[in-house]
């Protein structure tokens, strides 16, 4: 998978227009990033919370676009916002889970709700890989999904996650290997 830092070339002009609050400049940004941000967020928060969180990512983007310094890392900037919001939401959900545990009520696990009817993927395999992804440690899942949906280089993922590059690579390798093993065990 070839991931290069093409943000500057691809998004530079669009981002400059967005920084001047040109409304039309945000349309291609939403079209490109909404599915990718949604795909990333959906593996960390319950489905019922995903759409609100996706919207919040773009609202935060609008509010802070002027402070973005165009260094060719627009995708990393977008997914940093998404990651921060996801972590905040996960913390809120964990607090909610603790409150529910204290009141001895059964917690309803986040439902996986694939929207895969319109493409030729094997729905059983998709369901299995979704379940396997959710069984991975959060840090491994995060590296894998940032690679898959944000299409970021490992150097950038390491920076976002505040880890050494070697750690990011190791997490990715271990997570993917485990994912593959779980899928093979299923077969």
């Amino acid at each position: 998978m070839n991931r290069t830092q093409t943000s500057s070339d691809q998004w530079g002009e669009t981002v400059r227009r967005a920084q001047n609050l040109d409304p039309e400049s945000f349309d291609p940004i939403v079209e490109e990033f909404a599915p990718r941000v949604r795909g990333f967020l959906r593996r960390f928060v319950p489905e019922r919370e995903v759409d609100d969180l996706v919207q919040e990512v773009f609202l935060r983007m609008v509010r802070s676009i002027k402070s973005y310094q165009d260094n060719g890392k627009f995708e990393a900037w977008v997914f940093q916002i998404a990651r921060n919001l996801a972590r905040d939401q996960m913390r809120r959900n964990e607090r909610g889970l603790m409150v529910q545990d204290e009141s001895s009520e059964q917690y309803v696990a986040p439902e996986s709700s694939p929207q895969f009817d319109s493409h030729p993927y094997d729905s059983d395999a998709v369901e299995s890989i979704e379940a396997a992804l959710m069984r991975l440690p959060e840090a491994e899942r995060e590296v894998i999904l940032l690679r898959h949906f944000a299409r970021l280089p490992f150097e950038e993922i390491a920076r976002i996650m505040a880890t050494p590059l070697g750690t990011a690579l190791a997490r990715s390798h271990r997570g993917l290997t485990n994912l593959r093993r779980m899928m093979e065990e299923r077969l």
Binding site: L59, R63, P114, Q115, I129, I144, F149, H173
Partner: protein, 162 residues
């Protein structure tokens, strides 16, 4: 090939395997999302221009722009409905007050006393006018009697004429 390169190759292969199994995400409400972003942009712009602490305060410009916004047909219909609703509510309120006044408010003793006193005044005024009329008639009769007595001996007309 060193360990890092071998690991990087394995990662590449595993990522390609994942990409074949993990479908792209659909966003059903993408147009709604674009609209929401535009609203946020507009609100940010408005907030910047209306912020009294900001450097770009230009309420005149903002009002000018707001006034220049085209009023949609929907807004016009909504405004018309609002006006008619106000008229309807006003008429209903007037009707309700009048019904309440006519049906609920009892006739007090004060009201009756006022009517009775007015009746007395009215009757008094009738009696006075009747008395004055009678006096005039009596005066006329008296004058006529005097006139007849004065001319008692004078034959003014012949009984045979009748």
């Amino acid at each position: 090939m060193n360990d890092d390169q071998r690991r990087q190759n394995e990662i590449d292969q595993l990522e390609q395997w994942l990409a074949r199994h993990l479908p792209p995400e659909n966003v059903a409400n993408i147009e709604h999302l674009k609209l929401r972003v535009r609203i946020e942009l507009g609100e940010n712009w408005l907030g910047t221009h209306l912020d009294p602490a900001g450097d770009q305060v230009d309420a005149g410009l903002v009002n000018e722009v707001l006034n220049a916004l085209p009023q949609s047909e929907r807004h016009r219909k909504r405004n018309a409905r609002f006006v008619w609703a106000c008229v309807g509510i006003g008429m209903a309120a007037v009707l309700a007050v009048s019904i309440w006044n006519s049906s609920v408010s009892p006739v007090s003793n004060g009201d009756l006393a006022m009517v009775e006193s007015n009746d007395e005044l009215w009757l008094d005024s009738i009696e006075e006018s009747v008395d004055e009329d009678l006096e005039e008639i009596e005066d006329e009769i008296s004058e006529l009697s005097d006139f007849l007595a004065l001319n008692n001996d004078t034959q003014w007309f012949d009984d045979t004429d009748f």
